[in-house]
Subunit: 346 residues, 2 copies
């Protein structure tokens, strides 16, 4: 009545790009016999999400404390919580029973013990693969949906630029924008990704930013009449170039800043004279601010999926041992679509 | 039946800080006899506004073209239009007659000939000094009012930081914010200005930024619980420091970027990770976008003035010859409150 849980920890805080030696896989034995009166839930993890923001939580205390409410620091040696899908093995909580599928905060490991105040919900997959709960129907989807529709408030025919367009959120922003009736151009880091954006996802155009020495000129070429909406996943030079090409009343949704997470690139210094004269809005956001549109998001996105109007891009590795390299790969542009790790078959 | 008009021109485009040799005063004779059928209005200028944005219009074509609709390039040798108050001398336009006071676009000179499509309105001073039409009841006032109330959407008790707080717009933002019930701290460039903000305008606190080597630490000291609203008139390091000290859902109204106008300072490169995690909004604006609240602005501000609740800070030079030094002085921090030039007595 016990299982062996393998789980990933960091060996020390990480303040640059992550590397394999920053991580190790630990083992523990978890008893499946709950103490009398315990409300714990023990789940077998099926899929866990691999997200760039986890790296911010791994930085030394000084830089991550600020974000404590939403992204508590990850301490060396401790299990790492992450969004995922799991199956209940044992439950002391009357709301869950053995065999239930659940979605919410689990851990980067084979099993998770969820205490009373855990963030876990019962899951109805609605006929879709379980992995969709991590990708298009999970936080990546909500981030794309809410960031694009709620923050950017698009109008049909507007010109939309998406960076990291083959990433977990970017590919969905581009698809929502196309379905809504916008003109969409994406940037990505390889010619393979560029071809996929144009051929598989229906972007109007796309380019490989690694082959573009002057991003301002590049965006001028792709948007001769200017950009109305920039969905920013990277910050840095790309943000400056987008703002330099932005139309009056343009909107920049700052979703991620992958250039800053590893402290590798320089920060964006957009021309504030442009921001004033063209009345540009630059706004950061998190999907959790938009739980009020969650039901709409699920309903519309399921409709699109059933109608075959959206593609689901997932990049799935298998096994606990692949978690570190999956995270490391995010910062090297290895993933196409949503990166996740499958820990067990359903 | 003719007058001699002295007016200011630039001798060449200006791409750095302006200096006296960039300007000259030209003379022309204007006939006061209109051609038959002419709709022209000839006015005697009383007050003209001196604004930092005029420098942007004086830059070489390449950099100012972008803003053409709202801030058309000023060409060397040509009369320079500016907001001001004037008195009609001769009118071929049935809507105006001799002796009317008018407000709108006139020129940096003693007289202006306004063509049919000019932006000129009849003026009712409502018992206030005519100069108020350039300062608190003019675009400076509307910029402060709309930028603060419409863009920043303040709540009572919120913490507000204003840079260039003794300038034409900043001093009014601080006063509106105090009257509304916010906690207000301003920055300025001299101890005299700092004292004036605290003693005359009722700011909760103020500091001389020239004496602060570490602006992030300074703002941490003045806002131990964070900044909710930053009314930005300068850009650069101050914007970075304000964003680093900003609370969740903080708002930055980018009103001016005096640090960039003269190309002298480096651009702001705020930490976009802060922008994302704290969901900060950075938005540029122009007063012309808020003409819909103009009536409210006038009504509320006149009420405050009549109740003795607002101070009017004006910095008035006299005579056409003082126009160049007045503009130059804006970029050296010479003015306290709204800078304008009086050209004639009413």
């Amino acid at each position: 009545m016990a299982v062996t849980n393998r789980y990933v920890v960091i060996t020390a805080n990480i303040d640059g790009a992550p590397k394999e030696s920053d991580f190790e896989v630990k083992c523990e034995t978890i008893s499946l016999l709950l103490e009398p009166g315990s409300n714990d839930i023990i789940v077998k993890n099926l899929y866990v999400s691999i997200d760039p923001y986890q790296l911010n939580r791994m930085k030394s205390q000084s830089s991550s404390q600020v974000y404590s409410t939403l992204a508590a620091a990850i301490n060396p040696g401790e299990a790492i919580d992450a969004f995922g899908v799991a199956k209940v093995l044992v439950s002391g909580n009357p709301e869950f029973e053995k065999g239930d599928l659940v979605v919410g905060l689990i851990h980067w490991g084979d099993y998770s013990v969820i205490k009373q105040n855990g963030m876990l919900n019962k899951l109805d997959p609605m006929g879709f693969p379980l992995s969709y709960q991590i990708s298009i129907l999970g936080f990546s989807g909500l981030t794309a949906y809410a960031g694009f529709f709620e923050l950017c408030k698009p109008k049909k025919g507007e010109k939309v630029f998406v960076s990291t367009a083959s990433g977990s959120v970017g590919n969905l922003v581009g698809q929502y924008a196309k379905l809504f009736g916008c003109y969409v151009v994406g940037s990505a880091g390889s010619n393979e990704k560029v071809a996929m954006l144009k051929e598989k996802l229906g972007f109007d155009d796309a380019f490989n930013y690694k082959e573009e020495p002057d991003l301002k000129a590049t965006l001028k070429r792709y948007f001769p009449n200017g950009i109305d909406i920039y969905f920013d996943n990277v910050g840095a030079e790309m943000q400056e170039a987008a703002i330099a090409n932005m139309n009056t009343f343009g909107r920049v949704a700052v979703c991620g800043v992958i250039s800053e997470y590893t402290n590798s690139g320089r920060k964006a210094a957009p021309d504030m004279i442009d921001v004033v004269y063209r009345r540009i809005k630059i706004q950061g956001f998190l999907a959790v601010d938009f739980l009020n549109v969650h039901a709409d998001f699920i309903s519309k996105t399921c409709d699109h999926l059933r109608a075959g109007e959206m593609q689901v891009l997932e990049d799935i590795s298998v096994g606990v041992e692949s978690i570190p390299s999956s995270l490391i790969g995010l910062f090297k542009g290895h993933n196409i679509g949503k990166k996740m790790v499958q820990l067990a078959e359903e």
